[in-house]
Protein backbone atom coordinates (compact mmCIF):
# COMPACT_ATOMS: atom_id res chain seq x y z
CA UNK A 1 0.00 0.00 0.00
CA UNK A 2 2.43 2.62 1.24
CA UNK A 3 6.13 2.12 0.70
CA UNK A 4 8.65 4.61 2.03
CA UNK A 5 12.18 3.91 0.76
CA UNK A 6 15.18 5.55 2.37
CA UNK A 7 13.82 9.08 2.47
CA UNK A 8 15.96 11.93 3.71
CA UNK A 9 15.09 15.56 4.31
CA UNK A 10 17.47 18.27 5.45
CA UNK A 11 16.16 21.70 6.36
CA UNK A 12 18.38 24.79 5.99
CA UNK A 13 21.08 22.78 4.25
CA UNK A 14 24.51 24.40 4.55
CA UNK A 15 23.17 26.87 7.07
CA UNK A 16 24.13 27.13 10.72
CA UNK A 17 20.58 25.92 11.48
CA UNK A 18 21.00 22.82 9.32
CA UNK A 19 18.66 20.13 10.58
CA UNK A 20 18.54 16.55 9.45
CA UNK A 21 14.78 16.09 9.83
CA UNK A 22 14.38 12.68 8.19
CA UNK A 23 17.29 10.29 8.09
CA UNK A 24 17.26 7.48 5.56
CA UNK A 25 13.85 6.41 6.77
CA UNK A 26 12.05 3.37 5.37
CA UNK A 27 8.63 1.97 6.20
CA UNK A 28 6.06 -0.31 4.67
CA UNK A 29 2.35 -0.18 5.42
CA UNK A 30 -0.09 -2.92 4.45
CA UNK A 31 -3.53 -1.89 3.14
CA UNK A 32 -5.85 -0.93 5.99
CA UNK A 33 -3.02 -0.83 8.50
CA UNK A 34 -3.41 1.79 11.22
CA UNK A 35 -0.13 3.03 12.68
CA UNK A 36 0.33 5.34 15.61
CA UNK A 37 3.46 7.49 15.64
CA UNK A 38 5.08 8.78 18.82
CA UNK A 39 8.31 10.55 19.64
CA UNK A 40 9.58 13.62 21.44
CA UNK A 41 9.33 17.11 19.99
CA UNK A 42 11.52 17.53 16.95
CA UNK A 43 11.71 13.79 16.33
CA UNK A 44 10.39 14.25 12.80
CA UNK A 45 6.81 12.98 13.17
CA UNK A 46 5.14 15.96 11.55
CA UNK A 47 7.96 16.19 9.01
CA UNK A 48 7.22 12.62 8.01
CA UNK A 49 3.51 13.40 7.53
CA UNK A 50 4.35 16.54 5.57
CA UNK A 51 6.75 14.58 3.37
CA UNK A 52 3.97 12.11 2.60
CA UNK A 53 1.47 14.90 1.93
CA UNK A 54 3.90 16.77 -0.30
CA UNK A 55 4.14 19.99 1.70
CA UNK A 56 7.80 19.97 0.63
CA UNK A 57 9.91 17.82 -1.67
CA UNK A 58 12.12 15.20 -0.03
CA UNK A 59 15.86 15.34 -0.76
CA UNK A 60 16.42 11.63 -1.33
CA UNK A 61 14.45 8.42 -1.46
CA UNK A 62 11.09 7.35 -2.81
CA UNK A 63 7.50 7.30 -1.64
CA UNK A 64 5.17 4.86 -3.35
CA UNK A 65 1.44 4.47 -2.95
CA UNK A 66 0.03 1.30 -4.48
CA UNK A 67 3.32 0.88 -6.30
CA UNK A 68 3.19 4.33 -7.87
CA UNK A 69 5.99 6.80 -7.17
CA UNK A 70 4.50 10.02 -5.78
CA UNK A 71 7.42 11.87 -4.21
CA UNK A 72 7.68 14.35 -7.11
CA UNK A 73 3.99 15.18 -7.21
CA UNK A 74 2.92 18.57 -5.85
CA UNK A 75 0.76 18.74 -2.74
CA UNK A 76 -2.53 19.39 -4.52
CA UNK A 77 -2.10 16.37 -6.80
CA UNK A 78 -1.39 13.99 -3.93
CA UNK A 79 -4.34 15.46 -2.07
CA UNK A 80 -6.67 13.50 -4.33
CA UNK A 81 -5.80 10.34 -2.46
CA UNK A 82 -4.40 11.59 0.86
CA UNK A 83 -6.73 12.89 3.58
CA UNK A 84 -5.31 15.04 6.36
CA UNK A 85 -6.46 16.35 9.71
CA UNK A 86 -4.36 18.93 11.52
CA UNK A 87 -4.02 19.67 15.22
CA UNK A 88 -5.64 23.10 14.93
CA UNK A 89 -9.38 22.68 14.22
CA UNK A 90 -9.33 26.02 12.38
CA UNK A 91 -6.98 24.66 9.74
CA UNK A 92 -9.25 21.93 8.46
CA UNK A 93 -12.36 23.90 7.57
CA UNK A 94 -13.28 27.19 5.89
CA UNK A 95 -14.96 29.28 8.60
CA UNK A 96 -16.86 31.67 6.35
CA UNK A 97 -18.46 28.87 4.37
CA UNK A 98 -21.34 26.61 5.32
CA UNK A 99 -21.08 23.02 6.58
CA UNK A 100 -22.62 21.84 3.32
CA UNK A 101 -20.15 23.83 1.21
CA UNK A 102 -17.19 22.52 3.21
CA UNK A 103 -18.41 18.95 2.78
CA UNK A 104 -19.04 19.47 -0.93
CA UNK A 105 -15.43 20.60 -1.43
CA UNK A 106 -14.24 17.56 0.50
CA UNK A 107 -16.43 15.24 -1.55
CA UNK A 108 -14.83 16.59 -4.74
CA UNK A 109 -11.37 16.08 -3.33
CA UNK A 110 -8.82 15.89 -6.10
CA UNK A 111 -11.35 16.21 -8.92
CA UNK A 112 -11.08 19.13 -11.33
CA UNK A 113 -13.34 22.03 -10.37
CA UNK A 114 -16.27 22.54 -12.70
CA UNK A 115 -18.64 25.40 -13.30
CA UNK A 116 -21.45 23.40 -11.78
CA UNK A 117 -23.34 24.16 -8.63
CA UNK A 118 -21.17 22.86 -5.80
CA UNK A 119 -23.95 21.74 -3.49
CA UNK A 120 -27.04 19.86 -4.56
CA UNK A 121 -30.05 18.08 -3.19
CA UNK A 122 -28.67 14.59 -3.87
CA UNK A 123 -25.49 15.37 -1.92
CA UNK A 124 -27.43 16.88 0.93
CA UNK A 125 -28.95 13.49 1.75
CA UNK A 126 -25.48 11.91 1.78
CA UNK A 127 -24.13 14.68 4.03
CA UNK A 128 -27.01 14.26 6.52
CA UNK A 129 -26.46 10.51 6.54
CA UNK A 130 -22.74 10.94 7.28
CA UNK A 131 -23.21 13.73 9.83
CA UNK A 132 -25.89 11.96 11.85
CA UNK A 133 -23.55 9.35 13.42
CA UNK A 134 -21.38 12.14 14.81
CA UNK A 135 -24.23 12.82 17.23
CA UNK A 136 -23.58 16.55 17.19
CA UNK A 137 -26.78 17.63 15.47
CA UNK A 138 -24.82 19.02 12.53
CA UNK A 139 -27.11 17.19 10.09
CA UNK A 140 -29.75 19.84 10.80
CA UNK A 141 -27.36 22.74 10.34
CA UNK A 142 -26.09 22.17 6.81
CA UNK A 143 -26.40 25.83 5.89
CA UNK A 144 -24.75 27.19 9.07
CA UNK A 145 -21.36 28.77 8.72
CA UNK A 146 -18.59 26.58 10.10
CA UNK A 147 -17.19 29.57 12.01
CA UNK A 148 -20.20 29.25 14.34
CA UNK A 149 -19.19 25.74 15.45
CA UNK A 150 -17.09 24.83 18.49
CA UNK A 151 -13.54 23.50 18.12
CA UNK A 152 -14.69 19.95 18.75
CA UNK A 153 -17.51 20.20 16.22
CA UNK A 154 -15.13 21.65 13.66
CA UNK A 155 -12.61 18.89 14.25
CA UNK A 156 -15.29 16.21 13.93
CA UNK A 157 -16.36 17.83 10.67
CA UNK A 158 -12.72 17.90 9.52
CA UNK A 159 -12.35 14.18 10.18
CA UNK A 160 -15.48 13.55 8.14
CA UNK A 161 -14.19 15.84 5.38
CA UNK A 162 -10.82 14.09 5.29
CA UNK A 163 -12.47 10.70 4.87
CA UNK A 164 -15.71 11.32 2.93
CA UNK A 165 -14.01 10.77 -0.43
CA UNK A 166 -12.34 7.53 0.75
CA UNK A 167 -8.65 8.51 0.59
CA UNK A 168 -6.00 5.85 0.06
CA UNK A 169 -4.05 7.25 3.00
CA UNK A 170 -5.24 9.18 6.06
CA UNK A 171 -2.80 11.40 7.97
CA UNK A 172 -3.78 12.53 11.45
CA UNK A 173 -1.42 15.01 13.09
CA UNK A 174 -2.25 15.10 16.81
CA UNK A 175 -5.76 15.89 15.76
CA UNK A 176 -7.23 15.64 19.25
CA UNK A 177 -4.43 17.46 21.09
CA UNK A 178 -6.08 20.90 21.00
CA UNK A 179 -9.42 19.67 22.32
CA UNK A 180 -10.60 19.25 25.89
CA UNK A 181 -10.39 15.62 27.14
CA UNK A 182 -14.09 14.87 26.71
CA UNK A 183 -14.31 16.28 23.18
CA UNK A 184 -11.00 14.64 22.33
CA UNK A 185 -12.53 11.31 23.33
CA UNK A 186 -15.58 11.89 21.15
CA UNK A 187 -13.48 12.89 18.13
CA UNK A 188 -11.08 9.96 18.61
CA UNK A 189 -13.97 7.52 18.90
CA UNK A 190 -15.49 8.93 15.74
CA UNK A 191 -12.13 8.70 13.97
CA UNK A 192 -11.60 5.05 14.84
CA UNK A 193 -15.14 4.21 13.72
CA UNK A 194 -14.63 5.92 10.36
CA UNK A 195 -11.21 4.28 9.88
CA UNK A 196 -12.66 0.86 10.64
CA UNK A 197 -15.69 1.45 8.43
CA UNK A 198 -13.58 2.49 5.45
CA UNK A 199 -10.62 0.16 6.11
CA UNK A 200 -8.42 3.23 5.74
CA UNK A 201 -4.64 3.00 5.83
CA UNK A 202 -3.81 5.52 8.53
CA UNK A 203 -0.90 7.36 10.10
CA UNK A 204 -1.79 8.86 13.44
CA UNK A 205 0.72 11.07 15.20
CA UNK A 206 -0.10 11.39 18.88
CA UNK A 207 1.37 12.64 22.13
CA UNK A 208 -0.95 10.45 24.12
CA UNK A 209 0.78 7.19 25.11
CA UNK A 210 -2.47 5.43 25.77
CA UNK A 211 -3.82 6.35 22.34
CA UNK A 212 -0.54 5.23 20.87
CA UNK A 213 -1.06 1.71 22.21
CA UNK A 214 -4.82 1.33 21.94
CA UNK A 215 -5.57 2.84 18.53
CA UNK A 216 -4.63 0.80 15.50
CA UNK A 217 -2.47 -2.29 15.21
CA UNK A 218 1.05 -0.95 15.11
CA UNK A 219 3.09 1.68 16.91
CA UNK A 220 6.28 3.30 15.71
CA UNK A 221 8.51 5.59 17.70
CA UNK A 222 10.64 8.23 16.06
CA UNK A 223 13.81 9.88 17.22
CA UNK A 224 16.07 12.28 15.33
CA UNK A 225 14.42 11.58 12.00
CA UNK A 226 14.60 7.81 12.29
CA UNK A 227 12.27 5.05 13.36
CA UNK A 228 13.78 3.61 16.53
CA UNK A 229 10.94 1.30 17.46
CA UNK A 230 8.35 -0.57 15.44
CA UNK A 231 6.03 -2.89 17.31
CA UNK A 232 2.86 -4.72 16.45
CA UNK A 233 0.96 -7.90 17.16
CA UNK A 234 1.07 -9.69 20.52
CA UNK A 235 4.22 -7.85 21.59
CA UNK A 236 2.30 -4.56 21.30
CA UNK A 237 -0.76 -5.93 23.07
CA UNK A 238 1.30 -6.85 26.11
CA UNK A 239 2.95 -3.47 26.22
CA UNK A 240 2.15 -0.96 28.98
CA UNK A 241 2.93 2.73 28.95
CA UNK A 242 5.96 2.46 31.32
CA UNK A 243 7.36 -0.29 29.09
CA UNK A 244 7.03 2.01 26.13
CA UNK A 245 8.95 4.75 27.92
CA UNK A 246 11.66 2.27 28.90
CA UNK A 247 11.93 1.02 25.33
CA UNK A 248 12.42 4.55 24.18
CA UNK A 249 15.31 5.01 26.59
CA UNK A 250 16.94 1.80 25.47
CA UNK A 251 16.52 2.49 21.80
CA UNK A 252 17.62 6.10 21.82
CA UNK A 253 20.04 6.06 24.68
CA UNK A 254 18.23 9.00 26.19
CA UNK A 255 15.36 9.37 28.59
CA UNK A 256 12.08 10.51 27.18
CA UNK A 257 11.87 13.67 29.16
CA UNK A 258 9.16 15.60 27.42
CA UNK A 259 6.65 16.75 29.99
CA UNK A 260 3.89 16.63 27.44
CA UNK A 261 4.58 12.99 26.70
CA UNK A 262 4.70 11.97 30.33
CA UNK A 263 1.68 13.99 31.32
CA UNK A 264 -0.43 12.93 28.40
CA UNK A 265 -1.46 9.66 29.96
Amino acid sequence: MLEIRNITKVFHRGDINEKLALQNLSLHLAPGEVVTVIGSNGAGKTTLLNALAGVFQIDEGQILIEGREISRQPEHVRASYIGRVFQDPNLGTAASMTIEENLAMALHRGQPLRLRRGTGRSQRELFRERLRPLGLGLENRLTSRVGLLSGGQRQALTVLMATIACPKLLLLDEHTAALDPKTAGVVLDLTTRIIAGGQLTTFMVTHNMEQALTVGTRTIMMHEGQIILDISGPERERLKIPDLLKMFEQASGKSLNTDRLLLAR
Binding site: H76, A94, S96, M97, E101, M105, L113, L115, R116
Partner: protein, 297 residues
Protein backbone atom coordinates in the same frame (compact mmCIF):
# COMPACT_ATOMS: atom_id res chain seq x y z
CA UNK B 1 -31.70 67.49 -0.01
CA UNK B 2 -33.02 67.42 -3.51
CA UNK B 3 -34.23 64.36 -5.35
CA UNK B 4 -31.49 65.07 -7.87
CA UNK B 5 -28.80 64.10 -5.42
CA UNK B 6 -30.41 60.72 -4.88
CA UNK B 7 -31.05 59.92 -8.52
CA UNK B 8 -27.53 61.05 -9.29
CA UNK B 9 -26.13 58.93 -6.44
CA UNK B 10 -28.19 55.93 -7.54
CA UNK B 11 -27.05 56.35 -11.13
CA UNK B 12 -23.39 56.65 -10.23
CA UNK B 13 -23.58 54.07 -7.46
CA UNK B 14 -24.86 51.54 -10.00
CA UNK B 15 -22.40 52.46 -12.76
CA UNK B 16 -19.51 52.15 -10.29
CA UNK B 17 -21.25 49.08 -8.80
CA UNK B 18 -19.43 46.35 -10.75
CA UNK B 19 -16.13 47.88 -9.63
CA UNK B 20 -17.25 47.70 -6.00
CA UNK B 21 -18.22 44.06 -6.51
CA UNK B 22 -14.78 43.47 -8.00
CA UNK B 23 -13.09 45.03 -4.97
CA UNK B 24 -15.34 43.00 -2.69
CA UNK B 25 -14.30 39.85 -4.54
CA UNK B 26 -10.58 40.42 -4.07
CA UNK B 27 -10.48 42.12 -0.66
CA UNK B 28 -13.15 40.20 1.16
CA UNK B 29 -13.57 36.88 -0.62
CA UNK B 30 -10.11 36.19 -2.01
CA UNK B 31 -8.38 38.03 0.85
CA UNK B 32 -6.04 39.58 -1.70
CA UNK B 33 -5.60 43.37 -1.44
CA UNK B 34 -5.46 43.98 -5.16
CA UNK B 35 -4.30 47.45 -6.22
CA UNK B 36 -4.54 46.63 -9.92
CA UNK B 37 -7.97 48.31 -9.73
CA UNK B 38 -6.63 51.83 -10.24
CA UNK B 39 -5.14 50.74 -13.54
CA UNK B 40 -7.81 48.32 -14.75
CA UNK B 41 -10.60 50.85 -14.19
CA UNK B 42 -8.89 53.30 -16.54
CA UNK B 43 -8.05 50.42 -18.87
CA UNK B 44 -11.76 49.63 -19.23
CA UNK B 45 -12.55 53.24 -20.13
CA UNK B 46 -9.52 53.56 -22.41
CA UNK B 47 -10.22 50.41 -24.42
CA UNK B 48 -13.94 51.12 -24.80
CA UNK B 49 -13.39 54.75 -25.78
CA UNK B 50 -10.57 54.02 -28.18
CA UNK B 51 -12.54 51.30 -29.95
CA UNK B 52 -15.73 53.37 -30.14
CA UNK B 53 -13.78 56.29 -31.63
CA UNK B 54 -12.18 53.88 -34.10
CA UNK B 55 -15.66 53.09 -35.36
CA UNK B 56 -16.39 49.86 -33.52
CA UNK B 57 -19.85 49.10 -32.27
CA UNK B 58 -20.13 50.37 -28.63
CA UNK B 59 -21.33 46.98 -27.38
CA UNK B 60 -18.34 45.09 -28.78
CA UNK B 61 -16.08 47.89 -27.60
CA UNK B 62 -17.40 47.47 -24.06
CA UNK B 63 -17.00 43.71 -24.25
CA UNK B 64 -13.39 44.17 -25.36
CA UNK B 65 -12.87 46.47 -22.36
CA UNK B 66 -14.07 43.72 -20.03
CA UNK B 67 -11.69 41.21 -21.56
CA UNK B 68 -8.84 43.71 -21.23
CA UNK B 69 -9.69 44.05 -17.53
CA UNK B 70 -9.56 40.28 -17.12
CA UNK B 71 -6.12 40.29 -18.76
CA UNK B 72 -4.94 42.90 -16.26
CA UNK B 73 -6.13 40.68 -13.40
CA UNK B 74 -4.41 37.72 -15.04
CA UNK B 75 -1.17 39.72 -15.14
CA UNK B 76 -1.34 40.48 -11.41
CA UNK B 77 -2.20 36.85 -10.73
CA UNK B 78 0.79 35.60 -12.68
CA UNK B 79 3.13 38.06 -10.95
CA UNK B 80 1.94 36.78 -7.60
CA UNK B 81 1.60 33.05 -8.23
CA UNK B 82 4.40 32.38 -10.71
CA UNK B 83 7.03 34.94 -9.67
CA UNK B 84 6.06 34.75 -5.97
CA UNK B 85 5.72 38.51 -5.63
CA UNK B 86 3.83 39.80 -2.61
CA UNK B 87 0.10 40.45 -3.33
CA UNK B 88 0.27 44.19 -2.63
CA UNK B 89 3.38 44.63 -4.73
CA UNK B 90 1.98 42.54 -7.61
CA UNK B 91 -1.01 44.87 -7.75
CA UNK B 92 1.15 47.97 -7.59
CA UNK B 93 3.37 46.67 -10.42
CA UNK B 94 0.33 46.00 -12.61
CA UNK B 95 -1.16 49.35 -11.74
CA UNK B 96 1.96 51.24 -12.73
CA UNK B 97 2.47 49.16 -15.87
CA UNK B 98 -1.13 49.83 -16.85
CA UNK B 99 -0.53 53.58 -16.64
CA UNK B 100 1.75 53.34 -19.66
CA UNK B 101 -0.45 50.75 -21.36
CA UNK B 102 -3.49 53.00 -20.93
CA UNK B 103 -1.62 55.93 -22.46
CA UNK B 104 -0.69 53.71 -25.39
CA UNK B 105 -4.29 52.56 -25.82
CA UNK B 106 -5.62 56.11 -25.71
CA UNK B 107 -2.72 57.69 -27.59
CA UNK B 108 -3.26 60.78 -25.46
CA UNK B 109 -4.08 61.60 -21.85
CA UNK B 110 -7.70 62.42 -22.57
CA UNK B 111 -10.20 61.13 -25.15
CA UNK B 112 -13.60 62.72 -25.67
CA UNK B 113 -16.75 60.82 -26.64
CA UNK B 114 -18.93 63.91 -27.12
CA UNK B 115 -21.60 63.47 -29.83
CA UNK B 116 -20.50 59.88 -30.37
CA UNK B 117 -22.89 56.94 -30.09
CA UNK B 118 -22.27 54.89 -26.96
CA UNK B 119 -24.21 52.12 -25.22
CA UNK B 120 -25.81 54.86 -23.12
CA UNK B 121 -27.23 56.62 -26.17
CA UNK B 122 -28.33 53.23 -27.47
CA UNK B 123 -30.18 52.45 -24.24
CA UNK B 124 -31.56 56.01 -24.26
CA UNK B 125 -32.98 55.48 -27.72
CA UNK B 126 -34.77 52.38 -26.48
CA UNK B 127 -36.06 53.96 -23.26
CA UNK B 128 -35.93 57.56 -22.06
CA UNK B 129 -32.64 59.39 -22.41
CA UNK B 130 -32.73 60.80 -18.87
CA UNK B 131 -32.99 57.33 -17.42
CA UNK B 132 -30.46 55.63 -19.68
CA UNK B 133 -27.72 55.55 -17.03
CA UNK B 134 -30.11 54.22 -14.38
CA UNK B 135 -31.45 51.51 -16.65
CA UNK B 136 -28.02 50.50 -17.87
CA UNK B 137 -26.38 50.64 -14.43
CA UNK B 138 -29.29 48.73 -12.90
CA UNK B 139 -29.24 46.05 -15.57
CA UNK B 140 -25.47 45.58 -15.43
CA UNK B 141 -25.48 45.38 -11.63
CA UNK B 142 -28.35 42.91 -11.69
CA UNK B 143 -26.44 40.70 -14.11
CA UNK B 144 -23.19 41.09 -12.14
CA UNK B 145 -24.76 40.26 -8.76
CA UNK B 146 -26.75 37.31 -10.11
CA UNK B 147 -23.74 36.04 -12.01
CA UNK B 148 -21.42 36.36 -9.02
CA UNK B 149 -23.98 34.82 -6.70
CA UNK B 150 -24.27 31.71 -8.85
CA UNK B 151 -20.58 31.60 -9.74
CA UNK B 152 -19.51 31.70 -6.09
CA UNK B 153 -21.64 28.61 -5.44
CA UNK B 154 -20.21 26.56 -8.26
CA UNK B 155 -17.34 24.19 -7.57
CA UNK B 156 -14.91 26.75 -8.97
CA UNK B 157 -16.54 29.49 -6.89
CA UNK B 158 -16.30 27.41 -3.71
CA UNK B 159 -12.62 26.90 -4.52
CA UNK B 160 -12.08 30.65 -4.89
CA UNK B 161 -13.87 31.37 -1.61
CA UNK B 162 -11.98 28.67 0.26
CA UNK B 163 -8.69 30.02 -1.14
CA UNK B 164 -9.42 33.33 0.55
CA UNK B 165 -10.68 31.70 3.73
CA UNK B 166 -8.24 28.83 4.33
CA UNK B 167 -5.69 28.19 1.58
CA UNK B 168 -3.98 25.34 3.41
CA UNK B 169 -7.25 23.48 3.78
CA UNK B 170 -8.30 23.84 0.15
CA UNK B 171 -4.82 22.79 -1.01
CA UNK B 172 -5.10 19.71 1.18
CA UNK B 173 -8.35 18.99 -0.69
CA UNK B 174 -6.47 18.98 -3.97
CA UNK B 175 -7.19 22.46 -5.32
CA UNK B 176 -4.36 24.41 -6.93
CA UNK B 177 -4.71 27.77 -5.20
CA UNK B 178 -2.60 29.48 -7.87
CA UNK B 179 -5.40 28.81 -10.34
CA UNK B 180 -8.20 29.93 -8.04
CA UNK B 181 -6.32 33.13 -7.21
CA UNK B 182 -5.84 33.91 -10.89
CA UNK B 183 -9.52 33.20 -11.62
CA UNK B 184 -10.60 35.51 -8.79
CA UNK B 185 -8.25 38.29 -9.86
CA UNK B 186 -9.24 38.08 -13.53
CA UNK B 187 -12.93 38.10 -12.68
CA UNK B 188 -12.51 40.99 -10.25
CA UNK B 189 -10.61 43.16 -12.71
CA UNK B 190 -13.06 42.29 -15.49
CA UNK B 191 -15.80 43.70 -13.25
CA UNK B 192 -13.69 46.77 -12.54
CA UNK B 193 -13.21 47.29 -16.28
CA UNK B 194 -16.97 46.98 -16.81
CA UNK B 195 -17.36 50.00 -14.54
CA UNK B 196 -14.50 51.80 -16.25
CA UNK B 197 -16.06 51.39 -19.68
CA UNK B 198 -19.53 52.39 -18.43
CA UNK B 199 -18.21 55.43 -16.57
CA UNK B 200 -16.16 56.53 -19.58
CA UNK B 201 -19.24 56.40 -21.78
CA UNK B 202 -21.37 58.03 -19.05
CA UNK B 203 -19.03 61.01 -18.67
CA UNK B 204 -18.28 61.02 -22.41
CA UNK B 205 -14.55 60.94 -21.91
CA UNK B 206 -11.71 58.73 -20.77
CA UNK B 207 -8.90 60.30 -18.80
CA UNK B 208 -5.56 58.80 -17.81
CA UNK B 209 -6.12 59.91 -14.20
CA UNK B 210 -9.70 58.67 -13.80
CA UNK B 211 -8.65 55.50 -11.96
CA UNK B 212 -6.54 57.19 -9.30
CA UNK B 213 -7.75 56.23 -5.85
CA UNK B 214 -10.41 53.83 -7.21
CA UNK B 215 -9.25 51.12 -4.84
CA UNK B 216 -9.96 53.39 -1.87
CA UNK B 217 -13.38 54.32 -3.30
CA UNK B 218 -14.06 50.61 -3.65
CA UNK B 219 -12.99 49.89 -0.08
CA UNK B 220 -15.01 52.82 1.27
CA UNK B 221 -18.13 51.53 -0.48
CA UNK B 222 -17.61 47.94 0.65
CA UNK B 223 -17.11 49.04 4.25
CA UNK B 224 -20.09 51.43 4.23
CA UNK B 225 -22.22 48.57 2.91
CA UNK B 226 -21.03 46.19 5.61
CA UNK B 227 -21.70 48.72 8.35
CA UNK B 228 -25.24 49.44 7.13
CA UNK B 229 -26.34 45.94 6.14
CA UNK B 230 -25.80 42.80 8.17
CA UNK B 231 -24.16 40.30 5.86
CA UNK B 232 -24.75 36.77 7.12
CA UNK B 233 -25.38 35.40 3.63
CA UNK B 234 -23.58 35.70 0.34
CA UNK B 235 -26.40 37.44 -1.50
CA UNK B 236 -26.74 40.04 1.25
CA UNK B 237 -23.00 40.66 1.21
CA UNK B 238 -23.10 41.29 -2.55
CA UNK B 239 -26.11 43.61 -2.29
CA UNK B 240 -24.48 45.39 0.65
CA UNK B 241 -21.53 46.27 -1.59
CA UNK B 242 -23.90 47.87 -4.09
CA UNK B 243 -25.81 49.72 -1.38
CA UNK B 244 -22.48 50.95 -0.04
CA UNK B 245 -21.63 52.18 -3.51
CA UNK B 246 -24.84 54.25 -3.76
CA UNK B 247 -24.49 55.65 -0.24
CA UNK B 248 -20.88 56.59 -0.91
CA UNK B 249 -21.96 58.56 -4.00
CA UNK B 250 -24.72 60.24 -1.99
CA UNK B 251 -22.24 61.28 0.70
CA UNK B 252 -19.96 62.72 -1.98
CA UNK B 253 -22.84 64.59 -3.62
CA UNK B 254 -23.96 66.01 -0.28
CA UNK B 255 -20.54 67.26 0.81
CA UNK B 256 -20.01 68.80 -2.62
CA UNK B 257 -23.31 70.60 -2.30
CA UNK B 258 -22.31 71.78 1.16
CA UNK B 259 -19.45 73.57 -0.55
CA UNK B 260 -16.53 71.20 -0.19
CA UNK B 261 -14.07 71.69 -3.07
CA UNK B 262 -14.04 68.71 -5.44
CA UNK B 263 -10.27 68.55 -5.10
CA UNK B 264 -10.65 67.48 -1.46
CA UNK B 265 -12.76 64.42 -2.31
CA UNK B 266 -9.92 61.93 -2.20
CA UNK B 267 -8.92 63.22 1.22
CA UNK B 268 -12.47 62.70 2.40
CA UNK B 269 -12.58 59.19 0.94
CA UNK B 270 -9.33 58.30 2.65
CA UNK B 271 -10.73 59.67 5.91
CA UNK B 272 -13.89 57.54 5.57
CA UNK B 273 -11.87 54.39 5.02
CA UNK B 274 -9.47 55.24 7.84
CA UNK B 275 -12.35 55.81 10.23
CA UNK B 276 -13.99 52.54 9.24
CA UNK B 277 -10.75 50.56 9.53
CA UNK B 278 -9.90 52.16 12.86
CA UNK B 279 -13.37 51.52 14.25
CA UNK B 280 -12.54 48.18 15.93
CA UNK B 281 -9.48 49.73 17.62
CA UNK B 282 -11.54 52.55 19.07
CA UNK B 283 -14.35 50.25 20.04
CA UNK B 284 -11.78 48.16 21.91
CA UNK B 285 -10.56 51.24 23.77
CA UNK B 286 -14.11 52.30 24.67
CA UNK B 287 -14.86 48.84 26.01
CA UNK B 288 -12.09 49.29 28.55
CA UNK B 289 -13.77 52.40 29.95
CA UNK B 290 -15.79 51.49 33.05
CA UNK B 291 -18.89 53.42 31.99
CA UNK B 292 -19.08 51.65 28.70
CA UNK B 293 -18.63 48.27 30.28
CA UNK B 294 -21.43 48.89 32.73
CA UNK B 295 -23.82 49.86 30.01
CA UNK B 296 -23.03 46.95 27.80
CA UNK B 297 -22.82 44.41 30.59
Amino acid sequence: MSLNIWTGALEQGLLWGPMILGVYLTFRILNFPDLTVDGSFTLGAAVATRLILSGYDPWSASLAAVLAGAMAGLMTGLLHTQLKIDPLLSGILSMIALYSINLRVMGTANLSLLRVDTILTAIGDLTIHNFAALVLGGAVCLIAVTGLYFFLQTEVGLGVRATGDNPQMIRSLGVNTNITKIIGLALSNALVAVSGSLVGQYQSFADIGMGIGMIVVGLASVIIGEVLVRTPTLIRALLAALIGSVIYRAVIAIVLQLGMPATDLKLLTAAIVTAALAFPVFRGRFRKLPAYRERSG
